[in-house]
């Protein structure tokens, strides 16, 4: 058997669909410049993709047909030589359409292989989110603003070629930088992209992550029952009704917490989260009423507390809130748990409000990430800034 390479790209559904497909296609084409053969495919189980819901795209490359066939003789690669994560908030794990439960972002990564994450954070910050594993691996950070666009308009901010350059450095056996540059010159015909790819190659560095280092969180799982243990008539139990709950300080019971789906929590879809200033909240109800995911718990004292186990971070609550700076969407990568903000507020009001201020100040998403198409011409405005952040590295 000859050499076989499997690369997976973990990305945000729809927002990064085109980007991820481009990258896995480009990997095959770049490797082909060295006479290698390969295939590229998006995971069927993720389709039809939904905004933000984690998805995967794969490239399988080999130096001869039979070896390639061995790589193709499975639904998707179980072990990959390289995992590329296109949004650092995915490092908290992925709950996809394709399975039940939360999977660590390095789920399929071979021992000792490299995990590339596009992020503006540093390794210690990312390792607060990336789950620990029992095998060591290498972590590489490709500095840059997360590239989000949508179904029809693509933001061409060179993320694709920068990833190629990084891969050439992380996995030189797959393809050399020259093969990448040859591909860019022939297919993409862009001098600027040649520079971007080369920079990514030159600046590439990794840190060794020993076994056991990282986020200790227990991942939630679900065991699939056998056919004779399933309800017949293709039927399942519906959701129960929610109810009131207790104030952590006074113990007073009230408010309302809807029943929440235990089998699909959806929070790994979130790249931004709402933070709520309960001291300015007028209890107008609009955030809760307009939340498509019924993600607000109505607290015993009548506030609206975003339940971060089910919130997928769409930002509608911020949009509909009539109070200035009551609900603010902030960059998700700043956070390392899904704890209730209201409980923190109840326990220590001042500490919470201070935390809120600093969090909004440093995690205000505007320069950290874009969340898709807002107006025509927006991407053209954003690309120079993205290239600048990338150039600085």
């Amino acid at each position: 058997m000859g050499q076989l390479f499997a690369v997976e790209v973990v990305y945000r559904g729809v927002f990064q669909k085109t980007l991820a497909k481009n990258i896995t296609r480009d990997i095959v084409l770049a490797a082909h410049n060295e006479g290698k053969l390969g295939i590229s495919f998006g995971r069927y189980g993720d389709a039809p993709e939904r905004n933000g819901i984690p998805a995967k795209s794969f490239a399988i490359v080999a130096n001869d047909e039979q070896t390639l066939e061995e790589g193709m003789a499975q639904y998707e690669p179980k072990h990959v030589d390289l995992t590329v994560v296109l949004d650092d908030t995915l490092s908290k794990g992925a709950e996809s359409w394709a399975w039940y439960g939360l999977q660590p972002v390095h789920h399929a990564l071979k021992p000792g292989a490299t995990l590339i994450v596009i992020s503006q954070e540093d390794a210690p910050a990312l390792l607060k989110n990336i789950h620990r594993r029992d095998k060591a691996y290498k972590l590489a950070i490709l500095k840059g603003i997360t590239s989000f666009s949508g179904m029809w308009v693509f933001k061409d901010d060179h993320t694709d070629v920068r990833v190629l350059g990084a891969i050439a450095s992380a996995l030189p056996q797959l393809f050399s930088l020259n093969s990448v540059l040859q591909f860019i010159n022939e297919k993409l015909k862009s001098e600027l992209k040649v520079i971007s790819a080369r920079n990514a190659f030159d600046r590439f560095s990794t840190v060794d992550v020993p076994a056991g280092q990282g986020n200790p969180e227990e991942l939630f799982k679900f065991e699939l029952p056998g056919w004779d243990h399933m309800r017949d008539g293709v039927s399942i139990k519906g959701q129960p009704q929610g109810g009131p709950y207790a104030d952590p300080v006074t113990g007073e019971v009230g408010g309302f917490r809807p029943a929440r789906n235990e089998l699909f929590k959806k929070y790994s879809t979130r790249s931004m989260r709402p933070v709520v200033n309960f001291s300015t909240c007028t209890k107008c109800t609009l955030c809760g009423l307009n939340c498509p995911d019924a993600s607000f718990d109505i607290t015993p004292d009548g506030h609206y507390d975003a339940n971060l186990e089910s919130c997928c971070g769409c930002g509608i609550c911020e949009e509909v809130c009539p109070v200035k700076e009551c609900v603010t969407m902030v960059n998700e990568s700043e956070f390392h748990d899904n704890k209730s903000q209201w409980e923190a507020f109840r326990k220590d009001k001042d500490a919470y409000l201070n935390w809120l201020e600093t969090t909004i100040a440093k995690a205000s998403p505007i320069e950290k990430r874009s969340h898709g198409f807002r107006y025509r011409g927006q991407y053209q405005e954003q690309v120079p800034e993205a290239l600048e952040v990338a150039r600085k590295g």
């Binding site: 039809p48 993709e49 939904r50 959701q239 769409c314 949009e319 969340h371 807002r374």
Partner: protein, 339 residues
């Protein structure tokens, strides 16, 4: 309200309107855990619909986003009984369920009570494939049911293809602009609510709603479930995925669709037409329609439009308000009447 009705079906129950957002009950019958997109307004109308209908309800959902993305096997957001129905079957599903309840209650095999039967369909299931079955169902005045069409203006579940309710010129997987043809969809959006109201005089209640006006939307559902007989609601639902916009804009785009006059809000109850919200202000001249440009250019699906396309779109919208017999609703030319 039962004056001058074409059919004398009695109201089934009286679901009082919610008197303000703070009076809306907390209970959720469509909760979290669905796999819809961030900022999915179609999911939002499911939540509002279930909330408005309450616990004595069954929901029949035809194939589409609100089937596939809503419920994954072993995982469902529904707190009331829900069943998948085929893409073209929302009408038949509602009819079958309503008939079953009616006969079993008559024969004493089931407790006699008003049970809300709601079948929803997307614009693909409603305005295209399921139109025949919906039309047939709307002709059965003796069955109490509601058909709610959530309209995200495409076959969104199959990765966005044009439907009969897609807007002119829109970019979809089946109408992508190319090197030679910029506009691949030359169809104008199907005018569903008037089609149902005008074509089915026995229907006592038809309305258009928007998730950007949640209270009116819920109260419209409650009225539809009270008047008796088959009823129809058309809800416009901005779709962050297919329309290609930042999910945070979902709510705003719902408002813009109304404020630009593209999607008028009205109820037709017992033959009486009543505009409401900003649409009413537009008719009364109290509000000037915003240019459609404000709406179109916030969406990637129209990013390929050139000035000429925007102007054409604007001119057609103007025509619906200035030339139509019933502004924004009934596409008969006023001057025809004059001749």
């Amino acid at each position: 309200m039962t004056t001058s009705t074409f059919v004398d079906e009695k109201p089934t129950q009286n679901l009082e309107p919610f008197k303000g957002v703070k009076k809306v009950p907390h209970e959720e019958y469509y909760t979290s855990g669905h796999r819809t997109c961030q900022g999915c307004e179609s999911a939002q109308i499911m939540k509002l619909m279930a909330k408005a209908a309450g616990p004595r309800t069954i929901v029949l959902g035809s194939t589409g986003c609100m089937y596939v993305a809503n419920t994954s096997y072993y995982s469902t957001p529904w707190g009331v009984p829900w069943m998948h129905t085929q893409l073209g079957s929302s009408g038949s599903a509602a009819l079958g369920a309503a008939a079953a309840f009616r006969v079993q209650m008559r024969k004493g095999a089931m407790k006699d009570e008003p049970i809300n039967v709601i079948a929803f369909c997307g614009d693909g299931g409603g305005a295209d494939m399921g139109l025949g079955a919906i039309s047939a169902t709307m002709c059965h005045p003796d069955y109490n049911l509601l058909i709610l069409m959530y309209d995200n203006e495409s076959y969104a579940n199959t990765d966005i293809q044009i439907s009969g309710a897609s807007p002119y010129g829109v970019n979809t997987s089946f109408s992508t602009p190319g090197k030679v043809k910029r506009i691949m969809n030359h169809r104008w959006k199907k005018n569903m609510a008037p089609l149902i109201a005008v074509g089915h005089p026995t229907v006592k209640y038809v309305s258009t709603i928007s998730t950007s006006y949640p209270l009116q939307a819920m109260n419209s559902v409650r009225k539809a479930l009270s008047v008796g007989g088959p009823t129809f609601i058309h809800c416009l639902n901005p779709c962050p995925k297919g329309w290609d916009f930042d999910p945070v804009l979902s709510f705003q785009l719902g408002e813009l669709a109304v404020n630009t006059g593209i999607f008028p809000l009205y109820e037709i109850e017992n033959g009486k037409l009543k505009m409401y919200g900003k649409s009413k202000d537009i008719v009364n001249g109290r509000f000037k329609r915003l240019p459609v440009r404000d709406y179109l250019l916030k969406q990637g699906r129209f990013a390929h439009f050139i000035e000429e396309d925007i102007e054409y779109f604007q001119s057609k919208i103007d025509e619906t308000w200035d030339k139509w017999l019933v502004p924004g609703i009934i596409p008969l030319q006023k001057d025809v009447e004059a001749e």
